[in-house]
């Protein structure tokens, strides 16, 4: 046992006999304050600067004088009323359409015997993960009034003069943005339908109500707190939406907050910074009140229907025509949301001239051209680099936030979580503008105006809310004793993080990485306002090609983006599947 005694002695050596280690001790809470400072600089600082910048005459990097001119359209005059009205109409109609179809799908998949339920459960979320910019451009290639493919076919084949379909303006805007909204609401709702105890519905049927009546008297009312809560969030996300108003609204003269802010900055000379910034502040205030409403009035309410016991999947048997009718609705939906736009964009990437889809013309020239195109390659490289860097950054920061929140009783935990969720209430275009102001302000070397770093920071901030949620869940899954056991048996906190926490959280870490990467790789607003020559991303390049009418190049780049996003999502699903088998 002399060896063991030797180890014991060696251990004793590490004990500070009241020496240096024990006296010069940094309290752990100093690290928490440091973390809070970093998060505040990332998240809070740009918002504060944005508020300040809304009352000056200058532009990012040069403040100018105090002025209230930006708010003039809101003070007395009603110049901004159309923007407000358009925004509300847009957000409300997309919410209404989204709710109708999402409720139908969620109810059918979770509670009834509709055919191909598992396929539907797998495929309905896909449109949400497919970038709106991509499907939107693809649909516009088909349905723009001048040379949309559908209109060309109608003219040549059927001899119809004038466009049969016109996606510019309100019609296209609401049509296309509803497609991904249905998918998103379904994702948020379907869990509630699954976990609802079916005995409530059975009781209703026993008492003489029909199946359909039960849906409206029992099922939906019981879920109404969840539905209401989600509705507020979806309405808010409608105000956030940028790509759809830009693509469909601009050419049709429909302006909501997001594309109006962008118009003030990009299509006016000189750019109207104070008007755009003031408009951004108004939008933030609206978003904050919506989120506040959702938290205060609805968020605190318990959804009593979600009992802890496993649900009994007592499915409602529907008559044949209804079952297949619902399935047909799904097929139409999926065709419009995914099949048509993706087939179109993939096809056009293999033909030299957009629309001339003759099999003899099939070619790889577009792909070769893109490989030699500096702008495209820079975009691809930048997107991969920026998104990866942002994903790593977000994993680390949200991991630390999650740790303080979940594992310590420190009061900062709650504040950090709130800060991490703040970007949730910031529309992308507003965040871009806020970052532009904020990082053009400090003196070098902290002046990040026009650098890649400012775009990466933007992606990190955008990824924080979902990143923190996933990392928190991952930390929750690792029992505190696994960590404490390492500490007691000699592992420092760094070794514990590296040898115990990280391996046990690998699935959550990977999920967070993928989510943040996917959010960043598809984001248009942040790089659009922050890029300078050399820091364009893939999405910025896509918009450029679209506006220049370079459809073949655009298609190739779009397919590459799509492949990137889906490959990562697939990777995440794959590792999840393997872990579950273990």
């Amino acid at each position: 046992m002399s060896a063991a005694a030797d180890i014991a002695k060696r251990s004793l050596h590490r004990l500070p006999p009241g020496g240096i280690l024990s006296r010069v001790r940094i309290p752990v809470s100093v690290l928490y304050y440091l973390l809070a400072a970093v998060v505040a600089i990332l998240v809070l600082y740009p918002v504060v600067i944005l508020f300040a910048a809304s009352v000056v005459t200058g532009q990012p990097g040069a403040w100018g004088e105090f002025t209230l001119a930006g708010y003039k359209p809101w003070l007395g005059a009603w110049d901004m009323m159309p923007i407000l009205a358009n925004s509300v109409i847009f957000a409300a109609s997309r919410l209404a359409i989204g709710l109708v179809f999402a409720l139908l799908f969620a109810w059918a998949v979770a509670r009834t015997d509709v055919p191909f339920r598992r396929t539907m459960l797998l495929l309905i979320p896909v449109p949400f993960f497919t970038p709106d910019l991509l499907t939107g451009i693809s649909w516009l290639m088909l349905g723009n009034p001048q040379n949309g493919l559908i209109n060309q076919f109608a003219t040549y084949l059927l001899g119809i003069k004038g466009p049969v379909i016109d996606l510019y303006g309100w019609g296209g805007l609401i049509f296309h943005s509803s497609l991904s909204t249905i998918s998103l609401i379904f994702l948020m709702l379907v869990g509630f339908f699954y976990s609802m105890d079916s005995s409530y519905e059975e009781a209703s049927v026993t008492l003489g109500a029909s199946k359909y009546r039960t849906v409206f008297t029992i099922t939906f009312p019981m879920l109404s707190p969840a539905i209401l809560s989600i509705s507020v969030l979806i309405f808010a996300s409608g105000l956030d939406s940028f790509e759809n108003p830009l693509l469909f609204g601009n050419p049709g003269g429909v302006f909501v907050f997001a594309n109006e802010i962008y118009r003030m900055l990009s299509y006016r000379h000189p750019p109207q910074y104070s008007a755009a910034t003031a408009l951004s502040v108004i939008l933030i205030l609206i978003m904050f009140s919506l989120i506040w409403l959702q938290w205060r009035k609805l968020g605190g309410r318990r959804f009593t229907v979600i009992s802890g016991k496993g649900y009994r999947p007592n499915r409602i048997a529907l008559p044949g025509p209804v079952r297949w009718g619902i399935f047909a609705v799904f097929v139409v939906y999926f065709t419009l949301a995914i099949v048509i736009p993706l087939v179109q964009i993939v096809a056009s990437s293999f033909f030299p001239i957009f629309g001339m889809y003759n099999l003899e013309n099939i070619t790889l020239d577009n792909w070769r051209n893109v490989m030699n195109n500096r702008r495209a390659m820079t975009g691809i490289t930048n997107t991969i680099l920026f998104s990866s860097a942002a994903a790593v950054g977000a994993v680390i920061i949200s991991g630390l936030i999650g740790y303080v929140r979940v594992r310590t009783r420190h009061w900062l935990g709650r504040q950090l979580e709130l800060l991490a969720w703040l970007p949730w209430a910031l529309p992308g275009i507003v965040m871009g503008l806020a970052l532009l102001w904020a990082w053009a302000l400090p003196p070098p070397p902290f002046n990040l105006y026009g650098t890649a770093l400012v775009i990466i920071i933007g992606f990190v901030v955008k990824g924080l809310p979902l990143g923190t949620a996933t990392m928190q869940a991952a930390i929750h899954q690792v029992s505190g004793e696994l960590e404490e056991s390492s500490r007691v048996h000699g592992g420092s906190w760094l070794k514990t993080a590296w040898l115990i926490m990280l391996p046990l959280m690998r699935r959550g870490v990977l999920a967070t990485f993928v989510i943040v990467f996917a959010l960043a790789a598809r984001d248009l607003t942040i790089p659009l306002l922050l890029y300078r020559g050399g820091t364009e991303t893939l999405t910025v390049a896509m918009l450029y090609y679209y506006e220049e009418g370079m459809m073949s190049t655009l298609s190739v780049v779009a397919v590459i983006q799509l492949a990137m996003v889906f490959a990562l999502l697939g990777l995440e699903r794959l590792t999840r599947g393997r872990d579950q088998r273990d």
Binding site: L12, G18, S22, G490, P503, L504
Partner: protein, 370 residues
């Protein structure tokens, strides 16, 4: 092996005082149990010794070294305290093999690989898991995981072994078996051990000394026999073992300093004499009522009027009911309306319901709590 010393250690969680200034000394090689209901502060105390909770006040020493001292603003990190600990959930790392789990403390201490392997094999043999080193830790049964946790806590010969309800997740049979095994292992290694449990049987069978805690304070500290036979407070009497309490009002002081307690029964009045050393007066005052406490097995049932042995006291009662428990009967005996005691008796003696009986109790087994 060093002592563990706690001086006026205090810990609050918000409004709640979890540990309310306790003093405790665990001497070299001793096995001490912290026993109490949930929320009494026993686990918090153990976690403060491990360094997993930071006390608000007081001093904790392991050997001659202070690991926490409020006055000197000293708090040594858990990994520098050189302790072994077995957790309630075992806390076996699922991404490592058995051997990797057990070798972890050695790895942290930079022990050479060959040496480490030798020590791990040795300790695995000691806990009866020889040859299972390469098994993934998740493939083990609950009992085996328990042994891995123990092996990991012992492999580096720590100064002190801490155990936090280590047996509570095992089934009853295995728990009884492991109890003995733990005790034998602790004796053999001579390691100082602190054991937290809410299970009184575990505490009584395992420990050299038991510390009964309630609401963040120490109620009594003593050997298992002391705790069971001479509970210091009504709480200890009630918490450990079975107890009969008889509420009494007027209490007179006897010439020898003991108490003379009049007890109304339905068949007359008895005066119970409690020796001075068995009167546990709160705040020194013996007036204003209290409770007599007698362990059920210290009561003998006799037919009415039987002569008693020397030093025994008589309380008259009546059989109210009987429960057959296999190896013995348990009787419910009425003293007067609404007041009754439970008494075990051998199955050979059968008392019918309604029989008037005398209860014989040795004076040394009667306690008075005020």
């Amino acid at each position: 092996m060093p002592d563990v010393v706690l001086e006026k250690v205090r810990k609050r969680f918000g409004e709640l005082t979890a540990v309310d200034g306790i003093d405790l000394r665990v001497t070299d090689g001793e096995m001490v149990t912290l026993l109490g209901p949930s929320g009494c502060g026993k686990t918090t105390t153990l976690r403060m010794i491990a360094g997993l909770e930071v006390p608000d006040d007081g001093r904790i020493g392991i050997g001659d070294l202070a690991v926490y001292d409020r006055a000197k603003a000293l708090n040594v990190a858990p990994e520098l305290r050189n302790l072994g600990m077995v957790f309630q959930s075992y806390a076996i790392w699922p991404h490592m093999t058995v051997a990797e789990n057990v070798a972890y403390p050695l790895r942290m201490r930079r022990v050479a690989r060959s040496e480490s392997r030798r020590l791990v094999d040795g300790v695995l043999a000691q806990v009866g898991l020889a040859g299972l080193g390469d098994t993934p830790a998740t493939n083990l049964s609950g009992g085996q995981q328990q042994r891995v946790a123990l092996a990991r806590a012992l492999v580096f010969e720590p100064q002190v072994l801490l155990l936090d309800e280590p047996l509570s997740n095992l089934d009853a049979k295995l728990r009884e078996h492991m109890r003995f095994e733990l005790r034998i292992m602790q004796r053999r290694l001579g390691v100082t051990a602190l054991y937290v449990t809410h299970d009184q049987e575990e505490a009584l069978t395992l420990s050299d000394r038991v510390v009964v805690m309630s609401a963040g304070r120490i109620e009594q500290m003593g050997t298992p026999t002391e705790i069971y036979e001479r509970p210091a407070t009504r709480f200890v009497a009630e918490f450990i073992g079975k107890a009969n309490f008889l509420d009494v009002e007027a209490i007179a002081t006897a010439p020898d300093g003991g108490a003379e307690v009049p007890l109304e029964t339905s068949r007359g009045r008895a005066v119970i004499c409690v020796p001075a050393e068995q009167v546990r007066a709160r705040d020194g005052a013996a007036n204003g009522g209290g409770s007599l406490f007698i362990r059920p097995e210290k009561i003998r049932i006799e037919a009415g009027g039987t002569a008693l042995l020397d030093g025994e006291q008589r309380i008259q009662g009546e059989i109210l009911g009987r429960a057959y428990l296999g190896d013995h009967n348990e009787y419910l005996i009425g003293i007067r309306d609404g007041v009754d005691v439970r008494v075990p008796a051998p199955v050979e003696k059968d008392w019918a319901e309604g029989t008037p009986v005398d209860l014989a109790i040795n004076r040394k087994d009667i306690f008075l709590y005020t």
